[in-house]
């Protein structure tokens, strides 16, 4: 019998180097099951590199035949943007699992993204609206903590991840082997979401994002104060503030923050939220209140935090209005759409400010201005000079190094695999995890395959009688020495049962064969047999303290189930013969007794 299976993890396609939120797409093979984790796109590319290269998965043959399921951790496009391409254009008909909020919001973001790509940029060979719809038909929604049985062997379970509405970590389990994939998560609750949580599920492998691998971020409160101060100062001096956001997620958190600040300070400067997704987005938050943080859940009946008094819908004409204002506009990386339009209008005025509240992928305007570029080449060879203030505030809800360590501590994995981060920083975190938590840690490069051997115990059924008998004896005080459980494993097809040997014989209709030994031990002793027996008795009694030694009325001596009788052979009165008799089951003790008695008895103790 062989007790080793193996897990096999393929890190499929991740973005380039640098602080880069690339495409997430991981293939995990575990105990013969193949699961694809996330299906992201790269926002910085407009060509083939935008989508993962699915030919990595299988060169020939259909994806549906190879993959047992696909899991999407949350609705950000770098985790789900390639899904319609994957399922409808490459071709996959198996199940796609995601949480209810992700299922609700995902198609809207995909459609939004498609519109920008196709309608605005005129890209061809892109997925269509119908493809998004068809793709979403393959989605199976999961509840938090629900154990979803993908098939007889493969099960998955979602845990709360914070990060964005509906974000989840997933446990993938086959038999006793398991992998946890965190997706993106945050370990501290924010203004609208709670903190990620997982139980001590001891997976063989934990695949965690490591976006903020080295940062231990200052307290959220400081960052919030900083943000409010900057916004306030800018509008006080008559400037306009542009905050490029994605419609769902950070936007809601910052809206809550500004809303409460405006109310407290009694400010009148208008705040706008770029139209389209906005009201809808807030509506999702209202309907999925159980996914938000505890405070919002507790107070939503009295006051729904997502009904904003100060924040109004934005009209593109407002951008030219004189005077201060704050505008939340999509998309978040200034790569297209309304946020970019507003940015172009406001960039020339040094009174204005743009606050980037999250990452920007390489190649986007957001990334350029954050890296210090002040002269931007726009479409049509136009050069845009950026005079407005550019601020970066990390509000992205990712776990920092402390948070990642915390999660690893919670789940207690056998090993950790870091994805989604910069090599140097990941190296630092890897060392920290290996030294402080003594957990082996991997950080594969893009397209690299990591294989982890796992050692598997074999589950069998033990008869309750055997187990109870064994456990009862384990409770006895003399059970200090390791005791052996003895039984017979019956293997019939794939049904393995461990039973007592007697039961095994009985079940198979076999009779026991008793093997008995009787040894003659000659002793020099002139006394009578009875006295010899008595001497044997006291001798053994003094040596075998842990055993039950008895002197029976018929003159024989027993040690446990071993019988010793003294006899006098007629020819020699000076010799006595001890007959020591035992069964094969008492072999050790019987053999020991004969050699002990052979040495003779000690001189008479009177």
């Amino acid at each position: 019998m062989c007790g080793t299976g193996f897990g096999h993890f393929r890190w499929l396609a991740e973005g380039g180097a640098g602080q880069d939120v690339g495409r997430s797409c991981i293939l995990v093979s575990i105990a013969g099951k193949n699961v694809m984790l996330d299906c992201g796109m790269h926002m910085g590319f407009n060509d083939d590199r935008r989508f993962p290269d699915f030919s990595y998965i299988t060169q020939n043959g259909r994806l549906t035949d190879f993959l047992d399921c696909v899991i999407i951790s949350h609705f950000h496009l770098d985790h789900c943007g390639a899904l319609p391409y994957f399922s409808e254009m490459v071709g996959y008909d198996g199940p796609i699992y995601m949480t209810h909020p992700t299922q609700a919001i995902c198609p809207i973001l995909l459609e939004d993204y498609r519109k920008i790509a196709v309608d605005k940029k005129g890209e061809a060979n892109f997925f269509t609206s119908q493809m998004i719809k068809d793709c979403m038909k393959k989605v199976v929604a999961v509840h938090l903590h629900q154990t979803v049985q993908v098939d007889d062997e493969l099960e998955i379970k979602a845990y709360y991840a914070g990060h964005v509405l509906g974000a989840a970590m997933f446990q993938i389990k086959v038999g006793s082997e398991s992998v946890v994939y965190t997706g993106d998560y945050n370990m501290t609750p924010d203004r609208h979401l709670g903190a990620a949580w997982i139980d001590k599920c001891r997976p063989n492998l934990l695949i965690t994002e490591s976006t903020y691998a080295t940062t231990i971020r200052d307290s959220k409160r400081c960052r919030e104060r900083d943000f409010l101060k900057k916004v306030h100062e800018t509008v006080e001096r008559g400037g306009k503030v542009l905050i490029p956001v994605f419609a769902l997620g950070r936007a809601q958190e910052l809206c809550i923050l500004l809303e409460t600040f405006w109310e407290r300070m009694n400010l009148k400067v208008p705040i706008y939220f770029s139209t389209g997704l906005t009201e809808k987005a807030n509506h999702y938050y209202k309907l999925f209140i159980p996914w938000t943080n505890q405070k919002i859940r507790k107070t939503f009946v009295q006051r729904n935090m997502f009904e904003f008094k100060h924040i109004k819908a934005f009209d593109r004409a407002f951008a030219d209005n004189p005077g201060p204002m704050v505008v939340f506009a999509t998309p978040g990386m200034l790569h297209a759409g309304q946020s970019l339009q507003i940015f172009r209008k406001w960039a020339g005025n040094e009174k204005n400010m743009v606050i980037m509240p999250g990452y920007c992928v390489q190649g986007t305007v957001g990334h350029k201005i954050l890296s210090g570029q002040r002269k931007l080449e726009m479409e049509g060879r136009q050069v845009l000079e950026v005079k407005m203030q550019v601020e970066y505030m990390s509000f992205s809800a990712h776990a920092d190094a402390k948070g990642i360590m915390q999660l690893v501590g919670q789940a207690e994995p056998e090993s950790v695999l870091l994805v989604h981060g910069e090599a140097k920083k990941m190296e630092f975190l890897k060392q920290k995890i290996e030294q402080e938590l003594r957990v082996s840690c991997y950080m594969p490069a893009n397209g690299e395959t990591v294989t982890l051997p796992t050692s598997l115990s074999i589950p069998v059924g033990i008869s309750l009688g055997l187990l109870k008998q064994e456990m009862a004896q384990g409770l006895l005080p003399e059970a200090k020495k390791p005791r052996l459980l003895h039984g017979t494993l019956i293997m019939k097809d794939s049904n393995f049962r461990l039973v007592s040997s007697e039961q095994a014989l009985k079940e198979l209709g076999l009779a026991e064969h008793q093997l008995r030994f009787t040894c003659r031990v000659h002793l020099h002793d002139t006394r009578k047999e009875q006295e010899t027996a008595l001497r044997v008795y006291s001798h053994l009694k003094s040596i075998l303290k842990d055993h039950c030694v008895q002197h029976l009325p018929d003159g024989s001596v027993t040690v446990e189930s071993i019988l010793i009788q003294a006899a006098a052979p007629s020819e020699d009165p000076g010799t006595k013969v001890l007959l020591v008799s035992w069964t094969y089951q008492d072999e050790e003790l019987g053999s020991f007794l004969t050699s002990l008695l052979k040495k003779g008895l000690p001189q008479a103790l009177s």
Binding site: I458, P459, M471, Q473, L484, Q514, F517
Partner: protein, 574 residues
């Protein structure tokens, strides 16, 4: 209320809550009995359960009693009192209603769980809640070990109302299915009742009367509001105000909209649009439905007649409903419609008699009826069914209705109040893990076609009720530093048993083997039961019978061990 003196509640490890109606006594257990275990329930169960308790506490606290009579509880006095007082059972165990503080404390002890979540209890059993289709978050429970499965089915519905449909498939392969919480009114069809409700409501309002609906603040009221949403426009009643009066009316309406994941598919998909799953949001928006915490304050200003009032408590003994019974009871234009099945409407009305008001009884109970039960049992096929005694015979008032009882094979085992029942299965096996190192060392042997055996000697390691077999420890190396060994150090541990043997020894082959191994001078004698093999030179005698072998020799250990090993070659070890 629970009869707590039967069991010591401090010894209870876990409480599983099936739905929000089944948790009204929870504070009595968690706060005053020494109970320290865990309570499991789904999130909607806890949130709506909290609302029901909050309403109850609020109703009771509105009418504080300076004194409460207790002398009448003396048995000698009680039996002299008029009915129903003299028939009340176990009045000494009656308790005051709990406070909101106790409710909060009780609810804080609940662990939230989701449908199909596997919850490990002490490593020994696993419990799993399943959707029961009866109410928001209502659950059936599976309690299982690796080899046994018990299903607890309580308050389930196969009708399509607002909750997620009942999960029947997961109940399959149960050893025992405990079935309770069937419909109180097996003869009433809920759909018909809803129709009657609407037509009576319309009739009354058209004639200028008011309609009073005594109800709980959550549950069927959502379905009734949805029916009215579709019905009032077509019936020309859109101008008639609907009032929902309860201290938790607002919370109940709000909460109903955020549990999309616990709703039926239709309602769930609305959230994706995104729209609120229940149409009462629109009734509120268009001012057709108004809700108030009580009849005081805003309600008295807004109150217009004729109108429809939904309010509690359905027993008509406390809450705002009492006020409306007194206000409207004298006019035959008005109607009270009973929809909650928990209380006998005649008893509820008794103190208000004589009444001019019309009384309509439309109990809406969506829980399983007997036809649905037999359909369910056919589908799920448990080995045994266990249920309350009442379900195994027709109701006393309709003793000829043999269809109003559970009919299954083998007949259901029934239980009575305060009775302890042993479930009809015997636990035989438990799961144990064999470590890979040990598994590698096992030597399987095919005994019969398809059946292999391997003897296992291993160290049992048990932690948190999980069992693991590890390889036996290597024999310790003799310590060389020790000068003198005591004899007793060598005494073998008698608990290390050798395996059992089976098989038989063919004499001729055995003798040949002996010869091959250098024994000569072998003599074989036949006996009644077998043979005796004599090794004359060694003064050794081997008795061989069908089921036994006996080696009798001098104390020559070398010889004995050689013979032993030759004998063992012919036998199988177990």
């Amino acid at each position: 209320m629970c009869k707590t003196e039967l069991i010591d509640l401090s010894t209870v490890d876990v409480i599983l809550i099936s739905n929000y109606h089944c948790m009204m006594a929870l504070p009595y257990i968690t706060e005053h009995t020494g109970f320290t275990g865990t309570v499991y329930a789904t999130e909607p169960t806890v949130q709506i359960g909290r609302l029901l308790m909050e309403e109850l506490v609020n109703f009771i606290e509105r009418v504080p009693k300076a004194q409460s009579a207790s002398l009448w509880k003396n048995k000698d006095i009680q039996r002299l009192l008029p009915s129903p007082l003299k028939d009340a059972v176990e009045v000494s165990t009656w308790r005051r209603c709990y406070t909101m503080q106790e409710v909060n404390s009780a609810l804080s002890k609940i662990q939230l769980v989701g449908y199909s979540q596997k919850i490990e209890l002490f490593g020994a059993v696993q419990v799993t809640p399943l959707s029961s289709g009866y109410a928001l978050g209502s659950s059936n429970w599976i309690i299982q070990s690796h080899y046994e499965k018990v299903s607890y089915v309580s308050g389930s519905s196969l009708l399509t109302t607002h909750p997620q449909p009942m999960d029947q498939a997961s109940l399959k392969n149960s050893d025992v299915l405990v079935l309770t919480g069937l419909t109180q009114i097996p003869t009433a069809n809920p759909d018909g009742m809803v129709g009657e409700f609407c037509s009576n409501l319309a009739l009354t309002v058209r004639n200028g009367g008011n309609v009073l609906v005594p109800c709980y603040p959550s549950g069927v009221i959502y379905d009734l509001l949805e029916c009215l949403y579709q019905y009032i426009d077509s019936a020309g009643l859109s101008s008639v105000p609907l009032y929902f009066i309860s201290p938790v009316a607002n919370s109940s309406l709000e909460f109903s909209q955020i549990f999309a994941e616990w709703l039926c598919h239709n309602k769930q998909s609305k959230v994706y649009l995104p729209e609120p799953p229940f149409p009462h949001a629109e009734l509120i928006q268009t001012n057709k439905l108004k809700h108030y915490p009580s009849i005081h304050g805003d309600f008295s200003n807004d109150f217009r007649q004729p109108c429809v009032v939904f309010t509690g408590h359905p027993s008509l003994r406390f809450g705002d409903v009492v006020h409306f019974m007194e206000l409207w009871g004298k006019s035959s234009l008005n109607t009270v419609i009973f929809t909650e099945p928990d209380f006998s409407y005649l008893e509820a009305l008794a103190p208000y008699q004589p009444l001019a008001m019309k009384c309509i009884y439309c109990p809406i109970d969506t829980r399983l009826n007997f036809i649905q039960v037999s359909k369910l049992l056919k589908e799920v096929q448990p080995l045994h069914v266990v249920c309350p005694e009442q379900y195994t015979q027709p109701p006393p008032a309709q003793s000829h209705r043999m269809d109003l009882m559970i009919d299954c094979q083998p007949p259901a085992m029934s239980y009575r109040r305060a009775e302890v029942l042993a479930l009809p299965f015997k636990r035989r096996y438990e799961k144990i893990e064999i470590m890979p190192e040990l598994a590698d060392s096992l030597v399987p042997m095919e005994i019969k076609p398809g059946i292999s055996l391997a003897t296992v000697s291993a160290v049992l390691h048990t932690k948190d009720n999980k069992h693991l077999l590890q390889p036996p420890p290597r024999p310790a190396q003799p310590t060389s530093g020790k000068k003198r060994k005591r004899v007793s150090d060598d005494v073998p541990d008698c608990k290390v048993l050798k395996p059992l043997l089976s098989g038989s020894i063919p004499v001729e082959q055995f003798v040949q083997t002996l010869e091959k191994h250098g024994f000569s001078d072998i003599k074989v004698e036949d006996t009644a039961k077998g043979h005796i093999v004599l090794l004359q030179e060694a003064e050794t005698l081997i008795q061989i019978e069908e089921d036994s072998t006996h080696i009798i020799c001098d104390n020559d250990e070398m010889l004995r061990v050689r013979l032993r090993d030759l004998v063992l070659k012919f036998l199988q070890k177990f």
